[in-house]
Symmetry: C2
Subunit: 339 residues, 2 copies
């Protein structure tokens, strides 16, 4: 996908399936249908009493038709008629609760403002949408990916239960929208690199050195995502205090074991580095002694170390937190997440 928004989606991609007589469907109609559909099913779920998730719930697919003119159950809308399928709705409700996402906040984030279409940061054929409040990423997935994710849900549930510090993606919902001959499946995930926190360096790390340099095209971007060999060249590692290091390594080991059990090989750690009081890392400046900065503790650190007693109060600008790290004498809090 190009970096610029493309309002016309009347083209075949791996993520979509066209009928012979499809109408041209605008990107804004797709985004609108995603918002309306998710809003409808999540709102509907709110009225159902809370109950324990059962094994059977993982394989449920609930389907609702939302005609343009509305129905007894569904609101009228300005998009073409569409059908929304909600995968394992009770399981995802449980996950959202576990992740501390309140139903109203989820609805508000997804439905209240237009979705922002992002450039594709990876090599996949997915499209990415971001909620206006920076909270959620909505990623299109292929039929097989959606099926695969649904099959993994029991194991995903177990991992969240046993390993709450996991850095694996947080999945909040899995949906399918069928509209004007298109079929689009989307997964709602956490946005681990919120725009409001400038990342001075971004890395996609696989722990491999084979062809692990960012392409020339990627490097030319305003905020490129570098790879393992670039990281080695540009940072020569990061210094974490031993407690943080051990907690992070333990979490990564546990996450990798889960990914292995899912027979997933092609994963990477997405690493964002925010340099406090940023000055560019040049060969010359690397060994400079710099003035120390307050190292922040927040969500990402707690997520690997467990809850902390008496955390230091955070200022308004500090709420993104991160894991404190040092490059030699620099303080480099960074956010990390398995991808």
């Amino acid at each position: 996908m190009s970096d610029t928004n493309n309002d016309s989606m009347g083209r075949g991609t791996q993520g979509t399936k066209m009928s012979k007589h499809h109408k041209k469907l605008t990107a804004s109609a797709i985004k609108g249908a995603i918002q309306l559909g998710i809003g409808y099913v999540v709102g509907n779920l709110n009225s159902k009493p809370d109950r324990d998730v059962l094994m059977q719930d993982f394989s449920v697919v609930e389907s609702v038709f939302l005609p343009n003119e509305g129905s007894n159950l569904t609101p009228a809308h300005h998009f073409p008629d569409f059908r929304l399928k909600s995968y394992a709705p009770l399981a995802f409700r449980y996950f959202r609760e576990l992740f501390g996402i309140k139903p109203d906040d989820y609805l508000y984030s997804i439905c209240n403002e237009p979705l922002i279409e992002l450039s594709n940061p990876g090599a996949s054929s997915s499209w990415f949408y971001l909620t206006s409040d920076d909270e959620f990423i909505i990623k299109t997935v292929q039929h097989k990916e959606a099926e695969f994710l649904q099959k993994l849900l029991p194991g995903y549930y177990m991992n969240l239960n046993q390993n709450p510090r996991t850095l694996l993606p947080k999945f909040y919902g899995l949906y399918c929208i069928q509209c004007s001959g298109f079929t689009i499946r989307v997964v709602v995930m956490n946005n681990i690199l919120p725009r409001a926190m400038k990342m001075h360096y971004k890395y996609d790390l696989k722990g491999s050195s084979y062809k692990r340099c960012a392409s020339r095209k990627e490097r030319a971007k305003s905020s490129p995502t570098f790879k393992d060999l670039d990281f080695k060249d540009m940072h020569e590692g990061l210094n974490l205090d031993s407690e943080t290091y051990n907690a992070l390594m333990k979490t990564l080991q546990r996450d990798c074991r889960v990914l292995e059990s899912f027979k997933i090989m092609d994963y990477s750690l997405l690493l964002g580095i925010h340099v406090l009081d940023h000055k560019p890392l040049s060969r010359e400046s690397r060994c400079d002694s710099r003035k120390g900065q307050k190292v922040l503790y927040s969500t990402a650190l707690e997520s690997i170390q467990g809850s902390m007693k008496d955390p230091e109060p955070l200022g308004d600008d500090d709420t993104f937190g991160g894991i404190p790290a040092k490059y030699k004498d620099e303080n480099l809090p960074h956010l990390s997440g398995d991808n």
Copy 2:
């Protein structure tokens, strides 16, 4: 099974499978092989590093051969050669940890003293063994029951995670012993009616009134297990304080939903009533006003109400606890568990 111990097991039952040329196997050899086999596999598991349970772990069956003369890995013993299969060993290790059973305590309880053979309290064809310390029940199960239980483990895991106050049986291990042509499968469970706490009344409750009277044979026993209609006739209900009542009802509802999801119909609530300062319940005495007794709070109550702050200290004789209940003016702590 008769009430008296029968040292010879050279007979076909639903729980066993004989080869044509089986040797006569004594009950003490079976009990000994169970103890030695479980002791070996649980001890062996202790040396394996702890790790998260994965979905795949539920379907594992580990097998070890224990020849009479011993081997590099297994000890010599005085029983015929036998093979022990351990179902989902890592999952059960996780469950034992969740139930607060330390590996050494589990080994000590099962292996250190001879098992006690119990009379069959129910209608099933199972045999029951009790550990000498009253902690664990070892119940023989048929091939299909063992397979069924293993298939339920993911759902069982989920229930323990979401509903820690569950009154469903606590399963600590599932094993298969193959010895001299016999195949015996056993499940290790919690003993909800320990001998040291005299139960003045025992009930097997199904919430049905159809043919739910204890048989004449059952009534003739020294400690009979009565049924729903007997309960109605003998107690006309029990009074629980409203908090306990609500917690118990909620727990039973959640447990029943899980059993329903497993497509299990034939279950009952095993209810034991211990009358403080017991006097027999006769028609004449039922409405007598009695001196109040200290009502105990312990494991069984906490298990449905959640952890309690500052529990009252318990005397040596009070450690069995129970759920406080009143029959009119009587205090009747009782233990309960779904069966």
